[in-house]
């Protein structure tokens, strides 16, 4: 690797070219990795009423968001699996989840579940996200409710001070 015979200018240039080429190569690799990873691993956020319209197939991973339908929460004795329905007040989807419900989970409140539809049309959630802001409502859920025209602003807590 010794190139002691080159003069300083050429050495510096060579040095710089090596670094730049390495950086470009790396960037190429990174872009490749990102593209591959994105193809497989982005998860869309979908409201219950969009499932039919977007022709979601069973087995496809997505996030289902809406409100926990009041009175839909059910649990069989001695089985930790939890059943409930997520609704955007237009359509509602049965959900089952094996796990402990997050602290902010409540009937009538917003929820986001990640998982897949089974062939029977049941949404099998493997995680229930507790990503709520202080108004108890995931941003995505508010927007999907607004989209379906069912958003009631008075549900917002009165402490919304930033006006």
């Amino acid at each position: 690797m010794s190139k002691g015979s080159l003069n300083p200018m050429r050495r510096r240039k060579r040095q710089r070219i090596i670094v730049v080429l390495t950086a470009m190569g790396l960037l190429g690799i990174a872009v490749g990795l990102i593209l591959v990873a994105l193809q497989e691993n982005i998860v869309f956020f979908i409201a219950p009423s969009e499932i039919a319209e977007r022709q979601i197939e069973s087995g496809q991973r997505f996030r289902l968001g809406g409100l926990v339908e009041a009175g839909s929460l059910e649990q069989q004795p001695n089985d930790p699996t939890i059943h409930f329905r997520i609704t955007d007040l237009e359509a509602s989807v049965p959900v089952q989840y094996r796990g402990l419900l997050p602290d902010l989970f409540r009937e009538g409140e917003g929820v986001v579940a990640e998982g897949r539809l089974t062939a029977e049309g049941i949404f099998e959630a493997d995680s229930i996200l507790a990503k709520h802001d202080e108004n108890y409502m995931p941003k995505e859920v508010i927007e999907s409710l607004k989209k379906s025209g069912r958003w009631q602003p008075q549900e917002e807590r009165p402490k919304d001070e930033d006006s």
Partner: protein
């Protein structure tokens, strides 16, 4: 009244920031000594006024003055004192004030302690700091006034989000902010160097301790945050690649690269332009982190604020800082004369390798964090990018970094013999490989990821130990001589060993806990047992508990292994009074080989409780590793006094070419 004093002090601080940002630059341009000497006092005055404002707000929280809007929104008389205090920064307005306090504190430290900086350089650094302070103070005063009054004042406040009422999270934001804001010093030094058109080894010696301090705090801030997530969120997870986490992780990656590239400037006067660019990048990412978390563009536990006006302000500020400094770099970057030749295979080359990979990995995290926002803004489509994305992009890019971490420190400056080094490492590599396979096969059921993780951890730990053994000439001289050699190694050398070893320890923790966690979900009645990874969890007792501002259900699990009692875990499910919210307190016991982790859920309709039980192997090593990294940083930092003395001597000499 006190709130008005605080509000007024904040305006005075803003005025001082304006004076400190503008006058010294005019003074330097006109060679007016009076104006350029204003930089120091202006910075100190900012700190004093911001401190007054901060104390005024603190007082409001402590005495529960609900006529202050921020206090009414975030505090409650029933709250324990520690959370009244931490409530000051547990919300948008107060956290900005904390930002400003830390920022002006850092500026004042430069003004007071950096005696050996040339006058013009110091004035420029401080004026850049004042400019940043001006932006933040203006933002605070005009979009997020922490002293806004509420009339009529309510009798009771609405309380702090109970998730945030936790000792770990009480100190997470201040620590994180010291990290974020600490990088402003590196940034200001970089801008000053660009304006003066000169970077010397002395510059690197000034920048390095400040950068190290910021890095240490950011490391501990991130570690605290992940620890909090681990025990408080009750899922047993510690890192979710959530945008809020990435917001602090990105400056950490850039800062890690910066801590390394500054060494090259210091020792070899090479990589000057790159280091300046990294300093700009690191601080820009700190600002971006603040923007992401504080503007409410993300929805997450951390996003306290939802207000587009603030977002626009921060975005504009970010644009000015990033755009301005990059423009300056484009104009002046060429004037930074490169020094120190080196062959591609050398210590310098290894550090460039580390930097390129770290920055590329950073780019993938950046993309993953911002892509969903971008798609949402352009197409209105909601999507998220989760852990699988990062496993496919970030992780592969970190593998070469870790692989090189064992090799780079063995290389001498200027030119190294890679074949020779690899030859010497051959034996160690074989041991690491054999041990990784051995552990992997012995534990069983591990993925290829787990094997890779074990291999990387062992390789790195082995590399560090090999380096230590070499420096000590172990086996080539008497043990006492070896010990003496080790004791006389510079502290920065020990700092590097500790930090790198910490990375290896953290890799073990990540690998083992990701690959071999055992989990059980069940409904348990009193006296029943569940077995997890050979441990028998028996639900012994469930009883109600009353806290200061919550009521809780507490459960006791007796854990035994082969009939021998091991531990007793007491998880809780709390219901806070104000705001009414339920939180989970996991019961955790750290054993030599892993953590026992239990969570109690809701009562089941047919009797019993839903519970979640885990055995998480080596998960505590993760924080142990982070602790070693911080310790390494501190060790390196304690070399500083020596470094400043050297810097002073060199600064006096007109041509300060490093001749090490």
């Amino acid at each position: 009244m006190i709130a008005e004093v605080g509000h007024f002090a904040l305006f005075l601080a803003l005025a001082m920031a304006f004076i400190g940002a503008v006058f010294p630059s005019i003074g330097l341009a006109r060679r007016d000594g009076f104006l350029s000497h204003l930089a120091g006092p202006a910075v100190l005055a900012q700190f004093v006024f911001v401190l007054i404002a901060f104390l005024a707000l603190l007082y409001g929280y402590v005495v529960s003055d609900f006529s202050i809007l921020a206090v009414a929104n975030n505090s409650h008389t029933m709250k324990p004192m520690i959370y009244k205090v931490s409530g000051v920064w547990g919300n948008h307005e107060g956290s900005l004030l904390l930002w400003a306090l830390v920022l002006t504190g850092f500026s004042s430290a430069v003004a007071l302690f950096a005696h050996n900086l040339p006058h013009s350089f110091k004035a420029r650094v401080l004026s850049v700091q004042s400019g940043i302070a001006f932006g933040f103070l203006a933002f605070t005063l005009f979009t997020s006034n922490p002293f806004a009054r509420l009339d009529p004042a309510p009798l009771e406040g609405s309380g702090l989000n109970p998730l945030l009422q936790d000792p770990g999270l009480a100190f997470h934001p201040p620590v994180l902010y010291v990290g974020y804001v600490g990088f402003s010093i590196a940034f200001s030094f970089a801008i000053a160097a660009l304006i003066e058109g000169r970077i010397t080894a002395a510059w690197a010696r000034w920048v390095r301790p400040w950068t190290l301090v910021a890095w240490i705090f950011l490391t501990s801030g991130i570690a605290l945050g992940s620890w909090w997530a681990y025990y408080e969120l009750g899922w047993g997870g510690w890192w979710f690649w959530d945008p809020v986490e990435n917001a602090s992780f990105m400056p950490w990656l850039a800062g890690t690269a910066l801590v390394h590239s500054v060494i090259v400037v210091e020792k070899r006067e090479a990589l000057k332009a790159w280091t300046v660019l990294l300093a700009i990048l690191t601080f820009s990412l700190s600002l971006l982190g603040t923007f992401l978390v504080r503007s409410g563009v993300l929805t997450s536990v951390h996003a306290f604020a939802v207000d587009p006006a603030r977002g626009v302000f921060i975005l504009a500020f970010l644009f000015i800082v990033v755009g301005g400094s990059l423009t300056l770099f484009a104009i002046r970057g060429g004037s930074l004369k490169p020094g120190g030749f080196f062959a591609p295979i050398s210590r310098e080359g290894a550090l460039i390798f580390n930097n390129l990979f770290l920055v590329t990995a950073l780019a993938t995290v950046f993309f993953g964090t911002l892509y969903p926002l971008f798609i949402d803004a352009i197409f209105g489509e909601k999507l998220s990018v989760g852990p699988p994305y990062y496993n496919l992009t970030f992780v592969p890019l970190m593998v070469p970094v870790v692989a090189a971490m064992a090799i780079g420190p063995l290389m001498p400056w200027k030119r190294a013999d890679l074949e020779g080094i690899l030859g010497r490492l051959k034996f160690m590599a074989l041991i690491a490989l054999a041990a990784a396979f051995g552990i992997w096969a012995y534990v069983g059921d591990g993925s290829l990821f787990a094997l890779l993780g074990l291999l990387m951890g062992l390789w790195l730990a082995g590399g560090v130990l090999f380096d230590i053994a070499q420096k000590a000439r172990m086996g080539k001289m008497k043990a006492s001589g070896s010990l003496h050699r080790l004791a006389s190694q510079p502290r920065s050398q020990w700092g590097m060993w500790l930090a790198h070893f910490g990375v290896a320890v953290a890799i073990f923790g990540i690998t083992a806990s990701e690959a071999w966690t055992s989990e059980r979900l069940a409904i348990m009645t009193l006296g029943s047992s569940q077995e997890v990874a050979g441990y028998e969890f028996t639900l012994d007792k469930v009883w109600p508990v009353a806290g200061p501002n919550y009521s809780a259900v507490r459960a006791r699990f007796q854990v035994s292994k082969n009939g021998e009692p091991v531990a007793s875990l007491e998880p809780e499910q709390r219901i806070y009074n104000s705001p009414t919210r339920q939180t989970t307190e996991a019961g955790i016991r750290t054993l030599a080989l892993g953590d026992l982790y239990a969570v109690i859920g809701d009562a089941s309709p047919a009797g019993g409780w839903s519970v979640r039980l885990y055995f998480k192997p080596l998960v505590a090593w993760l924080w142990g590793g982070a602790f070693l990294m911080m310790l390494g940083g501190l060790m390196s930092l304690s070399d500083r006094r020596l470094r400043i003395v050297v810097a002073r001597k060199k600064a006096l000499a007109p041509s300060s070419v490093a001749a090490e």
